[in-house]
């Protein structure tokens, strides 16, 4: 049985014993997903690559603290990557606003062209999740986006949307409930 045939948890058991090939297999398996997550949160390509490297470094160094009974490997890995990304976001207080340089560029470039870079191929899990997210009403989707991908607290979400806290709680609860049903329909295996 080759490394690619091993489950995440079997690979982690080897990583705990210092098996670098097992570690590399996990990296190859999930680096794109971690990069996508980090980029989605930070919107900074260089920072996202740093987060990929640091996340997997922590997987290597803290392999002993991974507990299979607590949850699957991906939950652990994504949680590390998300926390690093949100930390960075908070530290930098990143806000998308046009800089002077951008104004300078835009002044020099007339006639915006239509779409050029097309959406690239997407993995199966990504398609399933995207399909599930699309089943949510916009206001529920926004709560998920703000809470999970922007690291906002429920109070911040309430302030941003101008809705009462109770409404935000309900939207979050309904969103998770609906996503669970949608993922089940799309064959997501819990």
């Amino acid at each position: 049985m080759g490394y690619n045939d091993l489950s995440d948890e079997q690979l982690m058991a080897r990583v705990m014993r210092g098996d670098t090939t097992a570690f590399e297999t996990l990296y190859d398996r999930y680096c794109s997903a971690v990069m996508g997550l980090a980029l989605r949160i930070t919107a900074d390509h260089a920072a996202a690559e740093e987060i990929v490297q640091e996340s997997f470094w922590r997987v290597w160094r803290k392999a002993d603290s991974f507990q299979t009974q607590v949850g699957p490997f991906t939950s652990w890995l994504f949680s590390i990557a998300r926390n690093l990304s949100i930390d960075l976001l908070r530290r930098r207080k990143m806000q998308v606003r046009p800089s002077e340089a951008l104004d300078e560029i835009m002044e020099q470039i007339p006639d915006p062209a239509p779409d050029v870079v097309e959406v690239a191929s997407q993995g199966l899990n990504h398609q399933q999740m995207r399909a599930a997210i699309e089943t949510l009403p916009n206001e529920q989707r926004d709560v998920i986006e703000m809470a999970y991908f922007r690291g906002m607290t429920r109070q911040e979400i309430a302030r941003t949307t101008g809705e009462p806290l109770g409404t935000i709680h309900t939207r979050a609860r309904l969103a998770l409930q609906k996503l669970r049903e949608a993922l089940h329909i799309h064959g997501f295996d819990e």
């Binding site: 670098t20 794109s32 980029l39 989605r40 490297q53 998308v96 006639d111 599930a132």
Partner: protein, 261 residues
Amino acid sequence: MAENIEELLAFYALEALNEAERLKVEDYLASHPEAKAGLEGSNHVVAALPHDADPLEPSPAVKKRLMERVHADAQTRFGSNGRSHMRHILQPGPGSRLPQVLAALCLLIAIAAGAWALALNREIGQLKTQVAVLQQEVDKTGTVLAHLTAPQSQAFSITGTQQKPGAHGQFIVDTGTGSSILVVSGLEPLAAGQTYEFWLIKDSTAVPSGLFTVDQQGRAILQVPQNSAAPAYNAIGVSIEPQGGSSQPTAGNIVMLGKLN
């Protein structure tokens, strides 16, 4: 009280509670196994949320740096050496000088062999580096060819601004795969602590899309990471930034620009 805590469960699953709230929920869950069981489904959903982000391959340099670090650490923490075996060979026998002589001889041979092995190792290391550099060149050339010959490739010109009027290049997009490369020439090698940074631009947003240096001839090939998250861009640019790159291009440092249309 219990009702209020129940309201926090979704945000607990979303890892979006502050520390005090999180501890309060964990206390509650410890004494309410039914609530803990009910949370399982939400945890599975949240664990799958990262898949909503468009997957994107990090640059090969990320893996290279990481694996170098991991291998070095593995050597330190898990690596074995042959010292116990050597100790056994050199152990002197009781009342005899022969084993000591043999041991000394073995030690000399071992030292000589070690020195020879080190020299060979160094030579192999240098050759490996040369091969890796050549391989990178071959890979880069292959990448350019692959993009140029891809059935759905599109090429866009990028030219130097007033700061670098002699610079020019091509941005080649394989719309079939979403991958793209930037080929430039006429740029000067930068001083230490500086780097060229490539930008994909849409309206008022510039997305940092890779750092590069140029060779002594002022040429560079940058494989731009696939960015399926961005639906469209209408311009490209290159700026000079501090080492490590910037999150936004620095005003006055834009050296190349091009339109994507």
